[in-house]
Symmetry: C2
Subunit: 259 residues, 2 copies
């Protein structure tokens, strides 16, 4: 047994941390960036099909709509076309044209989402090392189960993750701490044996803290990243750790183990 | 001007038929076949992911579900997995496994639908000839506008069709004859100046007959094809013509013109 294996062996026996939980979107893959790129592909598909609107103006419009209706609405392009038709006096689209443009945009959007989804570079190496340490893994995420599982399968995460907890599956939504408690119970662990990593203070850090789980805020440049929003993290919801690369979680485990 | 061009020239001037209407699914492309192939791809995706069920049994189950819930339900695989889990005593899937299989099936289903959609071989040549004759074209179809337009764009039909009428767009559904009347009015025509081609007696032939439109039943081997169902066409709803290839519509126009 060489030194490396010896060390892994010791960690396996002594690690206080038995489980690492991850948020999915903007933690394991660039969800915000992917959606933004896909939305632009949708705009470009409409322009290529002959829609008469200035590209920059169209981009501003779709951003506004995403802000107003939320990023999970399935009707962004419907609202886009409706706005264009009602608010812009020089544009008058028939019903047919409206549906044609919306269909083209939705097709291009989904094509991009399927084609370009990929893990952050640091995810796979880190998950392999975590497996080597004999530490279990879970994804705890909000969202429509079938959509979230589609992402997990497309990202090839299935083989690395021991348990997936999707809030709509058990009828409890983040930041309800019972979602995290459910996950702990599944493995028969207490909070101090788990680390949870996410990109949102409200939905990831707070429920972890409430379950006495080691909380890690990851800065990925997504829409809730405090480095980007400029929001200060209130003292009472401060995560135990802040990181910018997932690989740093290995050091955190070492630190906790040596406490 | 050669003989062919001369003939086209005369037709342009004298054609009684000014408009040809088409149904979309199972008239211009093999909708039934495509859905069946896609459904099998979904089944195979679940089996490849490790679902323990005999393939032939799975195929029979999904067929049963499609029959019971209709071919347009978006929940076929949900029902499939639920049935498997509740009815088969040897199978017990966790929530996670259920969603994983459903997601995998839906992904494979859509991939096949996008990849394999194509016009019947006789459609493009016939549409080109119709355009040469200076006859207008319309698609009149039931269905969700954005889904139907997606098919039209993927099939490359957009450049050949002058008007698309999708029932949910104007709030009138087949077999309501007003859908066909709406189309006639759009072109300022009466029924005897139009031919309509579809694969269903109830939804295509009857409303055409009620509008005094020349009705053509096309046998494409889809789920409503009377050659396949064995159903007899009642005398009072007999279409004016029955064809097996779309190109035959050109002969029909010649026949009507020479009446």
């Amino acid at each position: 047994m060489n030194v490396f294996n010896l060390r892994v062996g010791i960690l396996k026996l002594t690690s206080k941390i038995k489980l690492i939980g991850f948020d999915l979107d903007d933690c394991l893959f660039d969800s915000t960036g992917l959606s933004e790129r896909a939305r632009l592909k949708g705009i470009d598909a409409m322009l290529n099909l002959g829609l008469k609107v200035e590209r920059n103006k169209a981009i501003e419009m779709i951003k506004e709509i995403v802000k107003e209706y939320g990023s999970n609405s399935s009707k962004h392009y419907n609202f886009f076309i409706k706005r264009l038709n009602q608010l812009e006096s020089e544009i008058e689209l028939s019903f047919n044209e409206q549906y044609k443009y919306i269909a083209a945009a939705v097709m291009a959007y989904h094509e991009e989402k399927i084609k370009s989804i990929q893990l952050f570079d640091d995810v796979e190496p880190t998950l392999i090392k975590i497996k080597d340490l004999n530490i279990k893994t879970a994804i705890i995420t909000d969202g429509i189960p079938i959509k979230q599982y589609e992402k997990i399968l497309r990202l090839g995460l299935d083989k690395y993750i021991d348990l997936v907890v999707i809030s709509d599956e058990i009828g409890v939504k983040k930041p309800n701490p019972r979602l995290f408690d459910y996950c702990l119970k599944k493995f028969g662990l207490n909070g101090q044996e788990m680390v949870y990593i996410g990109d949102r203070i409200d939905k990831d850090i707070i429920p972890a803290l409430l379950n006495n789980i080691y909380s890690v805020f990851i800065h990925r440049g997504g829409k809730y990243d405090t480095y980007k929003t400029g929001n200060k993290i209130p003292k009472e919801t401060k995560p135990d750790y802040e990181i910018t690369s997932l690989s740093e979680v290995l050091e955190i485990i070492e630190e906790i183990n040596s406490e």
